[in-house]
């Protein structure tokens, strides 16, 4: 055979990111020198393993994380043997043999077999539902589990474990994280930053079991939970092991290459056999193994230099300064270098407890030796640059924690806003996208959105941690043309506004809170104390008679149908229709006060009687006695129709023009029991002297000789607002119709917790008039919808709870122990 014409044979063991990046770099340097064969254990083409977190979190599909297509292999003449791992290497014969029995000769061999998840020797690993977080198969198993099961346990609170936990949480599972030490990501974070991170993730709904040594995974056929060494048990239907990785070195060991923790490589990425190279997670360089993507790419470049070069090639890999960003959107964590100062170094720290910002720089000999940032990572690139270049920071050490802009303003360093970055400054570490590439794409493709930049350049399209930089660059490049992000959502659980949520509830026929949260992509599985009551009201309003009220999403007052007081006791206010009472009712109230030794009785501003200081467990009995005298709940505790205040009107008053009391009672009979975005108060005055103070009520009525004046949007609370005059009507029936229509419009359109006063200020009186006064048919429909909803609302909640054991459970202790 003529050696001049035979291409050298390169065999790559491992079809992952390190191996293929090396091949890519090699092809750039010399596309024809080698005939390349790639063996991979996984039955897939090469994909972006770090993007598995995004797949798990539902931000990407598996198809989107492929790095090289089959066509790429074909175009470059690479033979791919996927799903057929190499099982042995014969260094003498210079051949490898695969699992399927195929033996291939090599001139050069590249080991890039990566690593395997560390699996502790504990019972239960064989159970269904136990997996690692390493490859597509693991992610597919986790996604499948999330559709059928509710509870996940992630063992390991490091980088990988937290990304797994976040993904499972976003898949709708409840997630517990078991971590061996008391600090999350303790290899990247110090105690202070670890605690801040834990708090933030805890708020997002992860359950942490710290200092937890997993002793056993238990279950029948499927996993049911894990048991910790201290006796704690964590229930769960899926267990994801993410305690770390171990370099894959079995092949190297079997053929007597130098190994330690990893396959030992020199600065040229050669192993102890000069024809065999190793890169990526399986390699150990100067005593260090790496599990992150940046060092792997650096190794790939040097390795490709030597594969393409000869004995005179002198480039050397010098190790990588690691930096870490957590790929959990909205959690800003950065760390690089040393975590803590030692004998010869000091620490600078900045700790803003209110804003949850923590920064620490480890400084040695006037240079940065380590960086830990939490909550504000805007300066991470600057600190990293100073760390890498070993720059002297002494001239601005006293201000360095305030960031680059402050130091620049002091004239100590050149301002280095994104606009001043060099074109070859790498913005996106995952995809290796430099500033110049991005600005060029923005200009050529006329991009104005982050999404556009992602699609065209891949910058910020993987882990997303450079999103802020890309956005700044977009603004710096196109100025005001950059698309503004939307205003904030209902609460921290969603970016959707109240209006968008209500629209979707109606349009998508969403009929329960969990269904709504799932359909609309709520960030926290159970929502929070702010959105849950709002959703409960929106659903109740949208589906009267059909929606089943969710007690646990109501504020305690609406759940207990009484007003919680500062000492944890409750106040009880029975309804007094139109403020009118009688001897029987008063006697019953007096009896109740004596019987239950109620400490305080007061007349309210809404013409009713308030009994204060009732312990929760006495409420059902108090209600039963009041019910017996014909009294029902006054809803004095709810975002509901409260009182209808009246004056005595024409029946008694010498100035009275109409029977305001009877009008008030009729209004209260129609409206009682209705739920609203906020409390609603009505009043009816018998003459323009307005003794019932109708002009500071949500719906106020003032009698005049020729009929009734209707006023809306008043408020006597924190911010005094007099009503707007709506219109004048002639009959009692019209008052009822206008009132019902107005309240229904408010129920259907106002944001939860907006009183009618602020709602009207937002939509304008003219809008309300156009709906209620000008549009007769619309008014009648609104009124009809109000009455329809009232059919299901006018049940006395006190009677329901006083007379049913299951309903009254809420009010009694679960147990009493001595």
């Amino acid at each position: 055979m003529n050696m001049m014409h035979r291409r050298e044979r390169l065999i790559v063991v491992g079809n992952g990111m390190a191996g293929m990046r090396t091949v890519e770099e090699l092809l750039k340097r010399d596309p024809i020198r080698y005939q390349i064969t790639v063996f991979g254990a996984e039955p897939h083409i090469n994909y972006d393993r770090i993007a598995l977190s995004s797949v798990l979190a539902g931000d990407k599909e598996i198809g989107q994380i492929t790095i090289h297509s089959l066509a790429w292999y074909a175009e470059n003449g690479i033979q791919l043997c996927a799903g057929d791992p190499v099982v042995s290497i014969d260094r003498v014969a210079k051949t490898v043999t695969s699992e399927s029995g195929r033996t291939e000769p090599y001139d050069r061999l590249l080991l890039a077999a990566g690593s395997r998840p560390i699996v502790p020797p504990i019972p239960g690993l064989e159970l269904t539902g136990v997996c690692a977080f390493r490859d597509i198969a693991d992610v597919e198993q986790m996604i499948a589990a999330s559709t059928e099961h509710r509870r996940a346990i992630v063992i390991g609170g490091g980088l990988l474990g937290l990304e797994a936990a976040n993904g499972l949480l976003k898949r709708g599972m409840s997630v517990a994280v078991v971590h061996l030490t008391d600090t999350l990501m303790e290899r990247q974070l110090d105690g202070a930053a670890g605690r801040l991170l834990q708090r933030e993730l805890d708020e997002r709904g992860l359950n942490f079991f710290m200092n937890g040594q997993t002793e056993e995974i238990f279950g029948g056929e499927r996993v049911e939970g894990v048991r910790l060494a201290d006796g704690r048990e964590v229930p769960g239907d899926l267990v994801c092991m993410a305690i770390g990785i171990r370099p894959s070195i079995d092949l190297a060991r079997a053929c007597d290459l130098d190994i330690n923790r990893g396959i030992v490589v020199h600065d040229d990425l050669r192993t102890s056999d000069p024809d065999i190279f190793a890169v990526g997670e399986c390699a150990e360089h100067r005593g260090k193994t790496y599990g992150l993507v940046a060092p792997l790419y650096e190794m790939a470049k040097i390795c490709a230099d030597h594969l393409a070069g000869d004995e005179t090639t002198s480039t050397a890999y010098a190790g990588t300064i690691l930096f870490t960003k957590l790929k959990v959107t909205g959690v800003d964590v950065f760390s690089a270098g040393a975590l803590a100062g030692g004998e010869e170094s000091g620490e600078l720290t900045y700790n803003d407890t209110a804003r949850q910002i923590y920064k620490k720089l480890v400084v040695r000999d006037g240079k940065i030796d380590g960086v830990v940032l939490y909550g504000d990572v805007a300066d991470s690139n600057w600190y990293l640059e100073l760390l890498r270049k070993g720059e002297d920071i002494t001239p601005f050490q006293d201000a360095i924690l305030f960031g680059q802009s402050v130091v620049a303003a002091m004239g100590k360093v050149k301002p280095l806003s994104v606009a001043n970055f060099a074109d070859d400054y790498q913005i996106c570490g995952c995809n290796g996208v430099c500033k110049g590439t991005i600005t060029q794409a923005i200009a050529e493709k006329r991009l104005t959105t982050l999404e556009g930049v992602r699609q065209h350049t891949k910058a910020s399209a993987s882990c997303g941690s450079c999103t802020g930089l890309v956005e700044s660059l977009l603004i710096a490049t196109v100025g005001d043309a950059a698309a503004k992000p939307k205003p904030g959502g209902m609460c921290r659980c969603t970016m959707l506004t109240h209006e968008e949520v209500r629209t979707r509830i109606a349009a998508d026929a969403l009929k329960t809170i969990p269904q709504t949260m799932q359909a609309l992509g709520w960030a926290n599985t159970d929502g929070c104390h702010s959105c849950r009551p709002a959703l409960n009201f929106y659903l109740l309003c949208a589906w009267p008679g059909e929606y089943r009220d969710d007690e646990q999403s109501r504020f305690i007052n609406e759940r207990a149908h009484a007003n919680i007081q500062k000492d944890g006791t409750f106040s009880v206010i029975p309804r007094m229709w139109g403020g009118v009472t009688n001897a029987k009712e008063l006697r019953a109230i007096a009896d109740v006060v004596e019987k239950y030794d109620i400490p305080s009785v007061k007349v309210t501003g809404g013409q009713r009687i308030d009994m204060l200081g009732v312990p929760k467990d006495q409420l059902p009995a108090v209600w039963r006695d009041l019910n017996a005298a014909g009294m029902v709940s006054g809803h004095a505790y709810g975002k509901a129709l409260r009182t209808v205040k009246t004056c005595v009107g024409s029946e008694w008053c010498r100035f009275g023009t109409q029977d305001s009391t009877a009008m008030g009672i009729a209004l209260e009979r129609m409206t009682w029991g209705s739920w609203h975005p906020h409390k609603v108060k009505l009043a009816v005055s018998g003459c323009p002297r307005n003794c019932a103070e109708s002009t500071i009520k949500d719906f106020g009525v003032i009698a005049v000789d020729s009929g009734w004046e209707l006023h809306v949007g008043g408020n006597g609370g924190i911010k005094l607002r007099g009503t707007d005059f709506l219109c004048k009507v002639g009959t009692q029936a019209e008052v009822l119709e206008y009132c019902g229509a107005f309240l229904q419009l408010y129920r259907e359109e106002a944001r939860y917790l907006d009183r009618t006063a602020s709602w009207i200020e937002q939509v304008g009186l003219d809008y309300v008039k156009s709906q209620i006064v000008d549009d007769q048919a619309g008014r009648k429909l609104l009124h009809a919808r109000f009455l329809h909803a009232q059919q299901f609302a006018q049940t006395d909640p006190w009677a329901e709870r006083a007379n049913s054991e299951s309903q009254s459970r809420e009010f009694h202790a679960l147990a009493r122990v001595s």
């Binding site: 509710r150 992860l206 159970d526 646990q552 202790a813 147990a815 122990v817």
Partner: protein, 115 residues
């Protein structure tokens, strides 16, 4: 967590069935040392805290339970069920009581009455 119940003067006490505590809700256990709030999360995990918000003593048992937190009904402090710690920016801690669920019974680790 204290496991050697008897020697340290504590014991696991059965305080009721899991389904007697509403999902995403709470029930109270009365003890000589005050009330204990027992919470049940969506995934049937059970937590117990002394029923006093670290802020102003509000009854945590009456709050809205969401995820692994409860919001105090008095001033909306948010307390982590597992640790009793208030969520930032508030600072404070409600004492926790160890819990277990065995065959749908809830057990609390409570001081043992010596008498």
């Amino acid at each position: 967590m204290i496991m050697d119940g008897m020697t340290s003067g504590t014991a696991w006490r059965d305080i009721g069935r899991l389904d007697e505590v509403p999902c995403l809700g709470s029930r109270v256990v009365a003890t000589p040392r005050g009330k204990i709030a027992v919470f049940r999360t969506r995934d049937d995990r059970v937590f117990a805290l002394e029923d006093r918000c670290p802020h102003n003593g509000g009854p945590l048992s009456q709050g809205i339970v969401h995820g692994n937190h409860v919001t105090c009904p008095l001033h909306n402090w948010v307390i982590a069920l597992a640790t009793g710690e208030a969520v930032a920016p508030d600072i404070g801690c409600a004492p926790t009581i160890p819990t277990q669920v065995r065959q749908d019974r809830i057990l609390l680790l409570l001081p043992y009455a010596m008498s």
